[in-house]
């Protein structure tokens, strides 16, 4: 099967898995997981140099999910990659489970505990700096939310990444334009977002973050400029992939009813059918 088709199919399957997790657990951050699924799919199935049998392998690429609440796509992918048994997804958010509602480094494949917003970039700056100090060639990827951009610590990390010329650091903003209260531009306006990052010394590229082909292309060409960290502003759709959740702020952490769940699985199944 052609690689792009494989990735597209994988993204739909991950959406089915994460929706099933959320439906069964009766809790979860649906909208942001669905918007970021394509980004994570491309990272984990195409871009990152990782080995599920050796999750702590020293030369692996690192992924830090700063927008920790959208962990469902990540749990689905890590299970599918074999970091832990897929059966364990059934324990998501249940009493005593290690698959909690945020990345948890007790689980193989998770580098750091995250979820408090604005932490991922500074952590990733430290990891990328360590690679430089050690003369290692691994890359560090971090995914942030757009609402998260209001956290001041992000801009502290942004300055440091440019200061230390961390071209092995690739940050991605899941730019779905919605946060829990409503539009990001109504809550705390971000535009011109790309220019903000450019002015902080980053190389910035904008893509359609739900377009697998564009994502593959952009990740294959990063870092773009020697000595500069890369920011990928990924324009996405919150709730992507399911007709009734797309661009609906209510689906930030809404759980589908039985009827909605069946409808969603049906829609996703139809998307799979045409991807051959």
């Amino acid at each position: 099967m052609e690689e792009i088709t494989f990735l597209k199919r994988k993204a739909v399957e991950i959406r089915m898995d994460l929706l099933t997790m959320i439906y069964e657990a009766r809790t979860g951050h649906t909208g942001g997981s669905l918007s970021s699924t394509d980004i994570l799919t491309v990272l984990y199935y195409k871009v990152m140099n990782i080995d599920p049998s050796k999750p702590k392998w020293a030369d692996r690429d690192r992924y830090v999910q700063s927008k920790g609440h959208s962990v469902e796509a990540l749990w689905s992918i890590l299970a599918d990659k074999g970091f832990f048994p897929k059966e364990e997804l059934k324990t998501f958010s249940q009493f005593g489970s290690r698959l909690i509602g945020h990345p948890n480094n007790k689980v193989p494949g998770i580098e750091m505990n995250t979820g408090a917003l604005g932490h991922g970039l500074p952590i990733s700056v430290g990891m990328a700096l360590a690679a430089k100090l050690d003369g290692k060639s691994y890359k560090v990827y971090t995914l942030m939310g757009d609402g998260e951009q209001a956290e001041g610590s992000i801009w502290e990390g942004a300055m440091a990444a440019a200061q230390y010329k961390l071209d092995n650091l690739i940050a991605i903003i899941d730019r779905n334009r919605l946060q829990i209260t409503g539009s990001t531009e109504d809550v705390m306006g971000l535009e011109p977002l790309g220019d903000k990052w450019r002015s902080f010394g980053w190389e910035v590229v904008e893509v359609d973050g739900n377009d697998i082909e564009q994502l593959v292309e952009v990740f294959s060409t990063t870092p773009r400029v020697a000595g500069k960290p890369t920011m990928i502003v990924a324009n996405t759709v919150k709730g992507k992939g399911i007709s009734f959740s797309e661009n609906q702020v209510a689906w930030h952490h809404k759980v589908p009813t039985e009827e909605q769940f069946n409808l969603a699985i049906d829609e996703l199944s139809k998307q799979l059918e045409v991807l051959v």
């Binding site: 932490h119 700056v125 700096l129 100090l133 502290e156």
Partner: protein, 321 residues
């Protein structure tokens, strides 16, 4: 617990920050994974020489305390041994969430050295005093909290921490301090209190720079026939509960002295152990619930009764009641 009944000298006054820097420089030459991170604070942390001699091992982060803790956790995650040297007031509270999540919860090997703690910034006022740091750091699971009493203890502590791959917050002051130990010829063990002086009439418990106040007070009390035990708690968390319970049982009365708010610090930590195991009368000496008055450390200590005269008076009260 090892008894160290010493008569310390008043010579060799040196700031703990200098001792820590010297120790890290010595160890850093042998272990290139040791890094020092500063927040525009290499001067106030006495890290200038470290930076000059080991430029590859000092990381300047600028005035950004959240970022310095996040970066340190990322560096530690990749096998480095980062020591952050940053003003205690900002390091402990401005970045407390990073300390909770990126350091303690993620169990990254980050050492947080809070410099110029307590009231050692003197006239700079409440914004720069660090009198809540023990309360907030003590409440975080997985984080060790320590305070060295003098140069001998500061050196031993740093040597131990280089080999100890767990998160630690260390608070030190700014000024030169008198020795509390005669020499470094004593056993330092993380989590184990040190009995500085034996005695069974009452126990004075102190930490950091107040250990010297405790020793001087015990000496004054000795002259009026009151035999105090003096315990130095260099590790506030985890606390040496055994030493505290033993002191409560054997001496029946306890005074704690700390350069910290009376809420949530050393006295509170000791009281939690005492009331749940062997309740005895206690006095908690510290900074009251107010913005601390400004002045030199000695002036502030005296103002709030962290001094020989007041400890002696309280001890006599405890023994007559």
């Amino acid at each position: 617990m090892k008894n160290v009944a010493l008569k310390p000298t008043r010579s060799n006054k040196i700031a703990n920050r200098q001792v820590i820097s010297d120790t890290l420089l010595e160890l850093g030459k042998k272990n290139r994974d040791i890094l020092v991170l500063t927040s525009d604070s290499r001067g106030s942390a006495s890290m200038v020489q470290f930076g000059n001699e080991l430029p590859e091992q000092i990381v300047e982060v600028g005035i950004a305390e959240q970022n310095i803790v996040g970066m340190a956790s990322g560096l530690a995650h990749s096998g480095k041994k980062p020591f952050i040297a940053s003003p205690a007031c900002f390091l402990s509270m401005r970045s407390i969430e990073q300390i909770k999540v990126d350091v303690a919860y993620s169990q990254t090997n980050v050492k947080l050295i809070g410099i110029s703690g307590g009231v050692s910034y003197g006239a700079l006022g409440m914004s720069h005093h660090s009198l809540q740091d023990l309360a907030v750091t003590r409440a975080i699971p997985g984080l060790h909290v320590m305070m060295p009493a003098d140069r001998h203890e500061a050196k031993k502590m740093i040597e131990a921490l280089v080999e100890f791959d767990q998160p630690v917050y260390v608070r030190i002051g700014r000024n030169p301090v008198e020795d509390s130990y005669l020499s470094e010829d004593y056993e330092f063990e993380i989590g184990k209190a040190v009995t500085m002086k034996t005695g069974n009439d009452l126990t004075i418990i102190a930490s950091g720079e107040t250990v010297r106040v405790a020793l001087d007070s015990a000496e004054a009390l000795e002259q009026v026939g009151i035999h105090c035990r003096v315990i130095n708690i260099h590790t506030i968390k985890p606390l040496d509960e055994e030493a505290i319970i033993k002191a409560a049982k054997e001496t029946g009365r306890i005074i704690t002295i700390e350069e910290h708010s009376i809420h949530g610090g050393l006295g509170a930590a000791v009281a939690e152990v005492v009331v749940q195991n062997h309740p005895v009368p206690m006095k908690i000496l510290g900074i009251p619930d107010e913005p601390a008055i400004t002045g030199t450390s000695a002036q502030v200590f005296k103002h709030y009764g962290l001094c020989v005269e007041n400890v002696k008076k309280l001890a006599e009260q405890l023994l007559t009641n």
